[in-house]
Symmetry: C2
Subunit: 152 residues, 2 copies
């Protein structure tokens, strides 16, 4: 067992899971603030130079886990490690956000999909992307294709 | 405090931190296996459809943390949240790997930079990339430019 403690929390417009955009075509354009605890401020040195960040956070309002589940973007079940379900064996969330500006211990970002008050575990710079032509998106691409065809 | 337990471990060609390629221009082409515990096998359902995965793992051989550090890719110190340093407040690593094939609970992947035996916390599908023209890479781009110019 490895124990983690939050380095800060998310200030987000979303107060309940039902208000976070989900499903096919959901856009995450919401702005929010990553509020880092003052004791960790030195760890943010030079973060302003990066346009995008990985945020690792806790699904703190999720209980237990399910190895199979039907995500909002499909009507078929998939394995939890092939989805972004909150009900994971280790309830860690991962979101890529755009860094708009830093104000001391407050990182103003675009693209939050976390609930207000979500504990933050870590922040890392986003350094490179997988080339779009090399990316295969599995069941998600299939669900999109079925939706586009109006089929079930 | 939130406590995590491994869902499996990494089989990697790297036995010691010094053998993992680091610094500017380091390539991560090494192949390895994500060995998932049998109790979590159902969670891998449909993962074969994805070309790339996020792997969240533990820096289990790292001790303590430092808010400022000089990474192998630069000769200047930066904040830990602007680097991939193993000495983090919560020692979670994040690696994007290419999924080559699945063999039951064994995911054969390319791009490992973890040590052999590293505990795995979570696996998620890689769904989309940040467009390269929108990405700014902060001190890393500056260090690369200085190196290209032969300057310090």
């Amino acid at each position: 067992m490895y124990c983690m403690r939050p380095i800060g929390s998310v200030s987000s417009p979303y107060r309940a899971a039902r208000s976070v955009p989900k499903g096919l075509g959901a856009k995450h354009e919401a702005e929010g603030v990553l509020e880092i605890l003052p004791e960790f401020e030195a760890g943010l040195t030079d973060i302003e130079g990066f346009s995008h960040l990985f945020v690792l956070w806790l699904f703190d309002r999720s209980e237990g886990f399910a190895l199979l589940g039907t995500p909002p973007s499909d009507n078929r079940p998939h394995g939890v490690f092939a989805t972004r379900s909150p009900r994971r064996p280790n309830p860690i969330g991962l979101t890529v956000v755009e860094l708009l500006r830093r104000d001391g211990t407050r990182l103003h970002v675009r693209g939050v999909d976390m609930l207000d008050g979500t504990p933050i575990l870590d922040i890392k710079p986003y350094l490179s992307s997988v080339e779009p032509e090399k990316l295969r998106r599995g069941w998600l691409a299939e669900a999109e294709a079925r939706k586009a065809q109006g089929a079930e």
